[in-house]
Symmetry: none
Subunit: 402 residues, 2 copies
């Protein structure tokens, strides 16, 4: 739904909306005819909520499209992720609290390993610890000076870093240097439009200097860059939906995407318990609470079916604590599916439920992929439709027309 | 579906389509876990038709959006209500049979009560009777002469009237004077574009004169205006769908919206029986019959759950009489939900069924919110998709492409 259509209909009241995102929630059975991770998990509390909710499956982007974390979340936040496209660089910057200016381009970097012939042997540099990463970022920052741009290099977790170049006329229309394969050299950066040629040359210059500076640092003796992007300028959540929103997330990426839509990103600790304590602490201060649970996705990406089941069960155990805040509307879903059997983000529609006292529940009594197929939200709901529905259930949308 | 796409595919034949609109049909349970109005009602005839139909739930505008009567009906008529937006003034004019010209702007007026300080104390002037309303309209018409526009004031039901100003260069881009609140003065009318400044001044002049003229008429001692609009110019129903259409409705609003799409608005009496007699009388003369049942919505708006149930049962009793005309295609639905528990139009998807001898029925055997969730039309069908589907079931759409 277009923001121009929705915004004039928004009204405010004292209601509270919770969006609980179980990252990578959806899955598939390990063997044909079996159960998914969510179906295997014992989830009495999620099931009880499903029985009182609208249920369904949602597609974050569209049919057959596996979402990255950024687009998956933007869709849940009501921002069409095809229209509101954000590069991984800008997302990383937001996640680290690095405020991009209009003169910046950002890229996500990996430290990686190359052999003597310059061919990539490990795209993650043996997953070096974050402390080593920080040391190497400092090394790059101190050793590299470019002619026409200021250079920022900031460590993320493990082998990942953020590169920001600040200068006049920098453009984001650049290809990645990450070849996404082993046994080949890093790719040269290429301009996608003529106006980006000089920026491409500048990035090449950075990559050459980085290779020199890291020569003695094997396994982290080279860098790969992807997701060149400048700062997006989007209508903020408060303006679009009239909701003062708090983001309660642990990992930078999710804080970053919340920041991009103008949510207030809170210090939320490291565990789900700490996140829930944060919700309780600020319950009076916001209208909308985005609560992110990361580790389910990580287990899926590791192919750890049993681990993903256990993490889903942990969320189920803690759900009553979240509900004890008595939100007027609760949405539970994921930003995409991450089947352990596939070890990656997939396109499979994600279970979703929406509860309020006026939601008119369907007959679904189990929060699972199979059960949600016959729910009132349908088996292929567009994720961007969740926010208008949540607002309506919260009594925050005026009638359209006379 | 875009009219430009559909229109070239339309062919004509002798088939007949009936659209039965049970206004405000959808509901919610009074208490969690209970039944809706439609689920509470005994509806053997609707259920029998459902068993032979495609069933589902439709959203008139979009997820989370509660439709006004105008947009709700436009969607059922196949006109995207966001694209074909109509102001309340133009809708009122059409409903009263007042033919707007291209030099007119129309507004919906309320007689209201103000205190000595000019603050609104009752937005409906104690719901004065229609006869008093007519008298006051005559008073305004006789007392008010404006410099640069002709003034028409026509009574609607109760405290509502239609204001039309006719003159050169009048513009509809004006804000309402109705503050939608008590204890505050009526709002000054404001131009939304510079070209509407002179029209705003003219309306202000009307409001000032009306206040003088009504000074001694408490409780109807002031007017509130909203929904300024000029006459829309849309592709007519006959041209778009190839259907000669009759509108059988009792209330002005519904006659009005049918008139806006070019349906022929018939004298249809005051009761459902009289409406059905009208259908029978003109059965040979039209291809499409829009039959509107108002009172279900009124009961919902009054919070009268039992009354709404009884009115649904009355429609069920009379359904066989409508079907005895042997339409080729029958659609039964509502223009929106009006849960008695909420006393207002709501966003909840509305039960819908489409019957023809070639419709390929689903397994739904009960016409209810819960049962329709699993029907072949899906739980969140777009209402504008009903007309193409009805036309296809009537054998009136050519194959697309070779």
């Amino acid at each position: 739904m277009d923001f121009d259509f929705l915004a004039p209909l928004i009204k405010k009241n004292g209601s509270k909306i919770v969006l609980l995102v179980m990252d990578g929630l959806g899955g598939i059975p390990e063997e044909e005819g079996g159960l998914t991770e969510l179906e295997t998990a014992a989830t009495p509390n999620l099931d009880a909520l499903a029985a009182r909710s609208l249920c369904g499956l949602q597609e974050p982007i569209g049919p057959g499209i596996a979402p990255g974390s950024g687009p998956g979340h933007l869709a849940l936040f009501g921002y069409d992720p095809v229209r509101y496209e954000v590069g991984r660089g800008a997302l990383s910057a937001a996640g680290l609290g690095f405020e991009l200016t209009s003169h910046d381009i950002a890229a996500r970097g990996n430290f990686c390993s190359v052999d003597e012939a310059g061919l990539v042997t490990d795209r993650r540099a043996g997953r070096i610890p974050t402390a080593k990463n920080a040391e190497l970022c400092e090394l790059l920052r101190s050793r590299i000076n470019l002619d026409s741009a200021e250079v920022f290099v900031l460590p993320e977790k493990d082998y990942r870093f953020l590169l920001v170049l600040r200068g006049e006329g920098l453009r984001e229309e650049l290809t990645d240097t990450d070849p996404q394969a082993l046994g080949v050299p890093p790719l040269p950066v290429r301009a996608l439009v003529p106006e980006a040629e000089s920026t491409a040359a500048l990035v090449d210059q950075f990559v050459g200097r980085a290779k020199e500076a890291l020569a003695a640092e094997h396994p982290a003796n080279m860098v790969l860059l992807r997701g060149f992007s400048s700062k997006p300028s989007w209508p903020p959540f408060l303006e679009v939906f009239g909701l003062g929103a708090a983001a309660i997330a642990v990992y930078p990426m999710y804080k970053g995407v919340a920041d991009l839509v103008g949510m207030e990103v809170l210090e939320a600790g490291d565990t789900l318990e700490e996140e829930l304590a944060t919700v309780e602490r600020v319950w009076g201060d916001y209208d909308f609470f985005y609560v992110h649970v990361k580790k389910i996705d990580s287990a899926g990406e590791d192919g750890d079916f049993a681990g993903k089941v256990a993490l889903i069960e942990e969320v189920d155990r803690l759900l009553p604590r979240l509900l004890a805040n008595k939100p007027d509307v609760v949405i539970v879903t994921g930003d995409h599916s991450t089947p352990a059997a596939m070890k990656l983000h997939s396109w499979h529609p994600v279970p979703v439920m929406v509860h309020s006292t006026v939601c008119r529940p369907d007959a679904v009594v189990r929060f699972s992929e199979s059960a949600c197929v016959t729910g009132a939200l349908g088996p292929r709901m567009r994720a961007v439709d969740l926010m208008p529905l949540a607002l309506a259930n919260a009594g925050r949308v005026e009638k359209f027309g006379a």
